[in-house]
């Protein structure tokens, strides 16, 4: 993470203390997202012994996937938080919005993960599709590059990317970046939540 930050700082001629916290937080949140989505695809087939022998509500499995990955995420976040606090004075009370953002991300993961798990149990090749899509999305989403680096004609990569607001709501309050550009993405996210919550049973 630190090495990527340093290398990118040289490549894009951005000051290190600017881009390193950005990358640190983005990568950690991305790892959480990717882990949850990938785990969700195999959640039901792998835990079949639990709910084939006694009654267990299906959502328990999804909660356990989330719980495991949130715990890993919090552990991984120690270092990036450290970097943010150390390398800048961007931590204000505005940064508390990051916690709200995190709960939004977790809720999104719950609904999308649940829908994915159900789909993947019926159609077994979706698991691999998800894995590939996530790998591609890593480069197309502002994880290791700032959205400001994009030329105007490529801005759609961030505006129409469902992962971009997920990263932004956690990362931007911590870095003191304004969230208004992300407003479209947040609205998109909220619409997603509404859709998924109707699917959930």
């Amino acid at each position: 993470m630190s090495i990527t930050g340093l290398a990118w700082a040289l490549l894009w001629k951005e000051p290190v203390h600017d881009i390193l916290p950005f990358i640190a937080i983005s990568v950690t949140v991305w790892q959480f997202l990717a882990a949850v989505l990938n785990d969700a695809t195999t959640a039901f087939p792998q835990s079949s012994q639990y709910f084939l022998n006694q009654y267990m509500p299906a959502s328990t499995i999804i909660y356990s996937v989330l719980y495991k990955n949130v715990a890993t995420f919090l552990l991984n976040m120690v270092f990036p938080i450290f970097i943010v606090i150390f390398l800048g004075d961007s931590v204000t009370t505005y940064s508390l919005l990051s916690v709200v953002g995190l709960s939004l991300v977790i809720a999104w993961c719950l609904f999308i993960g649940y829908a994915l798990a159900i789909l993947c149990t019926r159609f077994r090749d979706i698991a691999q599709i998800v894995s590939t899509v996530l790998q591609v999305a890593f480069f197309v989403t502002p994880v290791i590059w700032k959205p400001e680096f994009l030329p105007p004609q490529a801005h759609y990569l961030v505006s129409y990317n469902p992962f971009a607001p997920l990263l932004a709501v956690v990362r931007d309050p911590l870095l003191g970046r304004p969230l208004c550009r992300v407003a479209d993405g947040v609205r998109h996210s909220a619409r997603n939540l509404g859709l998924r919550s109707s699917l959930r049973w």
Partner: protein, 247 residues
């Protein structure tokens, strides 16, 4: 007051093969061209219009040929399968002994596994901790309980699982093929434990092939045949007919 009521319960399983499980094949099939033969899924009807009513004091043994639907029926009772037709109504606290080791983690110690298994059976952590000393005593594993369970022999492991599973008192017990675990000394103790536990249980449902167990434990036998209840009645009546049809 425990009761189980099954009315016209039907359970069907769609069986998918590799090609009908593929989303890509579904999509490309619709676009024309024979990319792969993806036939519609075969539906297996495991239970057909089963009607069963059990009340307090019923001890039911389920017999039938292999594939008759015994395990499926037990799973419907346990709430694992939602029937595709008909209704199931279960009143009372139910524990399924289908998998005695459910919830046990091979890397955890015996003591930790006692807590895990109890919680998987529906107890709270507090209740599990309270039960733990009696379970430890019954299992007779002594200092081994401090070691991870992967170091146990399979007999010791099942002994622990049995000790934990029989330490709670549910209203309804569901057993799929009664187990025999442990050395001679423990078998005697286990049977004593079961004969002490079972009278306190309101309803017992048991699937087995062993006639001695059926004769000693069951007040009623249900004979399943290809997913339907062929006959139900006392052991002495049903079992000879069942044997005749098998032989």
């Amino acid at each position: 007051m425990a009761s189980i009521t099954l009315s016209e319960v039907t359970v069907e399983f769609p069986v998918h093969n590799a090609s009908s499980r593929s989303l890509q094949l579904h999509v490309f099939g619709a676009l024309g061209g024979k990319l792969a033969e993806h036939k519609k899924a075969v539906v297996v009807r495991a239970l057909k219009r089963v009607n069963l009513t059990l009340r307090d004091g019923d001890r039911v043994g389920i017999i039938g040929h292999n594939g008759a639907g015994k395990t499926t029926l037990l799973r419907v009772l346990a709430g694992v399968y939602d029937p595709s037709g008909g209704a199931v109504k279960v009143d009372g606290r139910l524990t399924s002994f289908a998998d005695l080791t459910l919830g046990m983690d091979l890397e955890a110690t015996g003591l930790q596994n006692i807590i895990f298994r109890c919680v998987f059976m529906g107890l709270t952590f507090e209740e599990a901790r309270r039960l733990s000393p009696t379970i430890q005593e019954f299992s007779e594993l002594g200092d081994f309980l401090q070691l991870p369970v992967r170091t146990y022999s399979s007999g010791m492991f099942l002994r622990l699982a049995f000790a934990i599973s029989t330490s709670i008192e549910p209203d309804i017990i569901i057993m799929d093929e009664m187990i025999g675990a442990g050395d001679a000394g423990f078998i005697a103790k286990a049977q004593a434990r079961l004969s002490e536990l079972l009278p306190r249980v309101k309803i017992l449902v048991l699937a087995t092939h062993d006639p001695t167990i059926m004769e000693s434990l069951c007040s009623k036998i249900v004979w399943l045949h290809h997913g339907e209840i062929r006959e139900a009645g006392p052991f002495k009546e049903i079992y000879p007919k069942y044997l005749a049809s098998m032989g």
